[in-house]
């Protein structure tokens, strides 16, 4: 039962082969048995799940239908969930029970989904290895000595290990696509503004975007359908109609123009990954796609610009954690400044403190033009590169990551080495474009992802290309041993 995809679950529930409650109980037992090996959950919500499953079964008995009615999933522990601890992977919010639901949580609950729990993540979504969590690192089910990627590492490990069919994630610099690549999943970061950020604990507001993580493109389409849409509560939400993301999955790729940037095949790329990317290009050519070399000349400037914009926005967003209204407060503060300083020093982990400090410096008097403004200008250069490329091609293809999953602890003493793992993913956040990672093979027994990028609001195109690729390849169906 645990092997089923969201689409298979939807069919099984519609045909009354099993109830949502039966399925939910099977998955909860599986999580209880296997998750101690992975640490992919911060909070399990068994009672809530059973109640939601019973309610979904009752709605179905009353004649209601819906692809997500009774579908089990989990939320990254960054989405506020009313009445449930929402920790964001931080000691700062270990005691925080959210008084309201994020729009994504509310929309999916209204569609009838069943929440099995809240998944582990890098603290405040800052990391690419899921090692900075206050609740300990998450293990990659493909090799328990390796990281699952981050920051949505708990969602990735849980779905890859067949603990559940799909989960929500968020992506500020690659935090959906990179862990999806490292655990053999399909993950989609939508266009900036496509999914509401209301109730998502903010990291870098001009980059943050929520999206689906699942085992194939068909399931990502179903989950995205339940997440996307205009929300007046999110000031940067875009009021565009939401298409039917499943409608064009089967469209032919005949004549599809795929651009492969020459800058992607640089010295930092593992040659085994380069080979698998070329093989995925060949498969798509067999399906009728036309491949063309393109150029993204400002690609190399993306990481420096990102590590100004993201920390600057983080230093502003995270100023709300002050030990006064919610979250961690230090013991026996001697005055107000001591309360602020010690609550934040004791509540935030090392990587979060580093990024706040970098951001505070970049925004401080006299440095704003040289850092934040310069980074925003580079951001436009990067966007312009994409706009030029999309006059010639329909999608851009390349590796999702330069390397497969590394060993837990291998990059702990070198934040820069971990930052460079986001080389291929962060441009989509800077430009606000939708991006998808899908399985493309294995290197040394570890999964490798291929990334597709498309123009604004063309999530459906990405899902179509991935789904067609998944009709002629079986990488995405491979399961890790022991799970």
């Amino acid at each position: 039962m645990h092997q089923m995809t969201l689409a298979e679950i939807a069919r099984g529930l519609a045909e009354k082969k099993f109830s949502s409650e039966e399925l939910t109980r099977v998955l909860l037992a599986r999580i209880a048995r296997l998750d101690p090996q992975l640490n992919s959950f911060i909070t399990r919500t068994d009672d809530l799940a059973i109640a939601q499953a019973k309610a979904a079964d009752a709605r179905r008995a009353n004649g209601e239908t819906g692809a997500l009615l009774g579908a089990p999933l989990a939320h990254k522990d960054l989405f506020c969930t009313q009445g449930v601890r929402t920790s964001c992977g931080s000691k700062m919010l270990d005691n925080f029970t959210s008084p309201y639901d994020a729009t994504v949580v509310a929309k999916l609950a209204a569609a009838g989904t069943v929440t099995l729990g809240k998944t582990n993540m890098d603290e405040f979504a800052m990391g690419s290895a899921n090692e900075s969590s206050h609740y300990g690192p998450v293990k990659n089910p493909w090799n328990l000595e390796h990281v699952p990627g981050g920051s949505s590492g708990g969602s990735a490990a849980a779905v890859a290990a067949r603990l559940l069919p799909a989960a929500t994630g968020t992506d500020t610099g690659g935090s959906i696509r990179q862990p999806a690549a490292l655990t053999n999943l399909t993950g989609l970061k939508p266009t900036y503004g496509r999914v509401s950020r209301w109730g998502m604990i903010a990291y870098a507001s001009s980059l943050d975007q929520a999206g689906p993580m699942a085992r194939n493109a068909e399931d990502c389409a179903l989950l995205l359908q339940g997440m996307a849409g205009f929300d007046p509560l999110d000031s940067t939400s875009i009021d565009e109609p939401v298409p039917d993301y499943s409608a064009n999955l089967n469209a032919s790729l005949q004549g599809l123009r795929i651009g492969v940037p020459k800058e992607y095949f640089s010295a930092g790329l593992d040659p085994r990954i380069a080979e698998l990317i070329q093989a995925s290009v060949k498969e798509l050519e067999k399906l009728g796609a036309v491949v063309k070399e393109i150029s993204l000349p400002n690609l190399q400037h993306a990481i420096p610009a990102y590590y100004v914009i993201a920390p600057a926005e983080a230093s502003s967003n995270l100023s709300r954690f002050d030990g006064v209204r919610f979250g961690y407060r230090c013991a026996d503060p001697k005055d107000l400044t001591d309360l602020y300083k010690r609550s934040r020093a004791e509540g935030f982990g090392a990587e979060v403190q580093r990024r706040i400090l970098v951001g505070a410096y970049a925004l401080s008097a006299g440095y704003y033009d040289a850092y934040y403004l310069q980074a925003q200008k580079i951001r436009r250069l990067i966007k312009n590169d994409f706009m030029n490329a999309f006059t010639e091609v329909d999608v851009i293809l390349g590796p999702t990551t330069p390397n497969p999953a590394w060993k837990i602890g291998a990059k702990n003493n070198d934040p820069i080495a971990e930052y460079l793992e986001d080389f291929y993913t962060i441009t989509a956040n800077l430009a606000g474009l939708p991006g998808l990672s899908m399985p493309a093979g294995f290197a040394g027994g570890l999964p490798v992802g291929v990334q597709l990028l498309a123009p604004y609001f063309q999530e459906g195109r990405l899902l179509n290309v991935a789904h067609q690729y998944q009709q002629v390849t079986d990488w995405h169906t491979r399961a890790p041993q022991g799970f």
Binding site: P99, G193, H301, L336, Y340, R344, I356, Y361, L381, I416
Partner: protein
């Protein structure tokens, strides 16, 4: 330009993070290596380029000036570290 100890102390004060004395050398080193990465930006010619704040260039929406939120003070204060009579408590500011 590399940061020194006093720079880091000043930044930490601005960010209201109370660094331990013992952590300052390590933090200084980490910040300098991150700034080394960031400083690669300075070589990029951006003359005549407008900064980009919102990827889709959207501007802030306006709405009617009307009350839209219910009063949920009790729910919000239930999760606060210290409250009294509907007020948030902090150490005494004025002697």
């Amino acid at each position: 330009m590399a940061l020194d100890r006093s720079d880091v102390e000043k930044i930490a004060h601005l960010a209201r993070i109370g660094l331990n004395d013992a952590d300052i050398p390590r933090t200084t080193e980490a910040l300098n290596s991150i700034l080394g990465l960031i400083d690669q930006m300075q070589a990029v010619d951006t003359s005549g380029i407008e900064p980009l704040a919102h990827p889709l260039e959207a501007s802030q929406r306006l709405r009617e000036d009307a009350v839209t939120e219910p009063n949920r003070r009790d729910a919000y204060q239930a999760i606060a570290p210290a409250v009294e009579n509907g007020l948030y408590l902090v150490p005494k500011v004025i002697e």
